[in-house]
Symmetry: C2
Subunit: 256 residues, 2 copies
């Protein structure tokens, strides 16, 4: 199938994990899923892991009753038909509120991410729990990478992903919130194209694009939290980095 | 390689096209590239086409000398060390300016997209030209789709892509600006997961994720403007739509 004039990557939704619980060895579960897939692990492989299973393993699935609503949370919840404890959970995860209006709360997290509800996921509300973001997704990625390297003898790239909304664009997309073992940004500055022209594109957020590619095989209804990307060839020699590199530096931020 | 418990898609950068010129039959060039790849076209295939070759074929590569700078363009260009004709081109493509400060111009296009320089690409500046967005990328996608269907007897999905910056996130990513023959949004609202819980995720911008996946094999330095995505299985039964469906409706827009 391969030909020198094609450039191909495969994006593979791995077999479902067992239900992840606090304290579980997630790297082992991912390793077992790789084994079950029959694909093994080879140099250059990248694993994209939905943050939700990371959060669960790290004990970040928290009872709603842990969040005693403040007056602000109560008023906002009442005005917009929300659960005040969910609003309170988001406010406690926030370091800054960007928008809080019309039932929508967009806030900055301790990691510097700006997203709905400061990353608090209420999809377990039926069981009276919310899922908070991992404390340090870069560390979570690094630990999964270390464990998989020990098990398979191959050093994979790891991306922890979440789905974020975007100003001006409809729908949410997967982005990278934790990264280990790959360059999150492909920096083309100063490079020239085939015709010798300096490239206008500057820096591409390839980790976000890899996270988005992975979402396409994760299928929410099938609970596939891990995707394997094989055959990705980094387009530049940009250095390895972390999810923090994907946060816009304040001096280049036009949207406070 | 395939197993019932994997969910795999392939993202393939097709062989380079010849240099595209105004008036070229782009669909024929893409068809020739598919033939050269040996992959053919099968049901469910999606082709992602960089807008730049579409713009070129449609005569949207325009001499900088066509843009007589206004006073505003001249002052902004002088203050920030820019080419006033490039600034003027962006202002003429804009229907609204969102930010114009510190050398950065973020503007709304006639299509409703909000992006740097109203989508004007200055990477051909060395040859004194700028590349404007296609007038109607959805129509461009539909025409390529119609031509390929006639040639191959298979109805592909087509995405016209561009790279956009994002507030708060470092680096640019590929998004879909024109769509034909696929559902740009996967709407999970009202669906329940394996455990019977209604899904919190609402609407995923799968066309943007497909565009991002394609960028990973396009490699700017190799000039691969077309990627073939094979094996994508839409996760929901959401209806087909266009690139306009990816523009946030005004009533849900928190970032005017």
């Amino acid at each position: 199938m391969d030909s020198p004039n094609l450039n191909e990557l495969r994006v593979i939704g791995l077999p479902p994990l067992p239900e992840v619980r606090a304290g579980d060895d997630l790297a082992r579960q991912i390793g077992d899923s790789i084994d079950a897939s029959g694909l093994g692990l080879v140099d250059g492989d990248i694993l994209v892991v939905t943050h939700k299973v990371v959060s669960k393993a790290e004990g970040r699935l928290v009872s709603l009753n842990a969040f005693e609503p403040s007056d602000l949370a109560s008023r906002f919840a009442e005005a917009w038909g929300k659960d005040a404890r969910q609003v309170e959970a988001a406010l406690r995860e926030a370091t800054r509120v960007v928008r809080m209006d019309r039932g929508v709360l967009i806030a900055e997290t301790r990691h510097g991410f700006i997203c709905a509800n400061a990353g608090v996921d209420a999809s377990n509300a039926a069981e009276e729990r919310v899922c908070l973001l991992p404390i340090d997704p870069d560390r979570s990625a690094r630990m999964i990478r270390d464990d998989l390297r020990r098990r398979f003898g191959v050093d994979p790239g790891i991306i922890i992903s979440d789905s974020f909304g975007r100003p001006w664009r409809n729908g949410i997309v997967n982005v990278a919130i934790g990264v280990s073992g790959l360059a999150p940004l492909a920096d083309y500055r100063g490079l020239t194209d085939g015709a010798g022209y300096e490239l206008h594109v500057t820096v591409i957020a390839v980790a976000d694009e890899l996270a988005s590619a992975a979402e396409l095989v994760m299928h929410k209804l099938e609970q596939r939290p891990v995707a394997l990307i094989r055959g990705y060839r980094p387009p530049t020699t940009s250095p390895e980095g972390t999810g923090s590199d994907l946060v816009m530096p304040p001096e280049r931020n036009f949207f406070p």
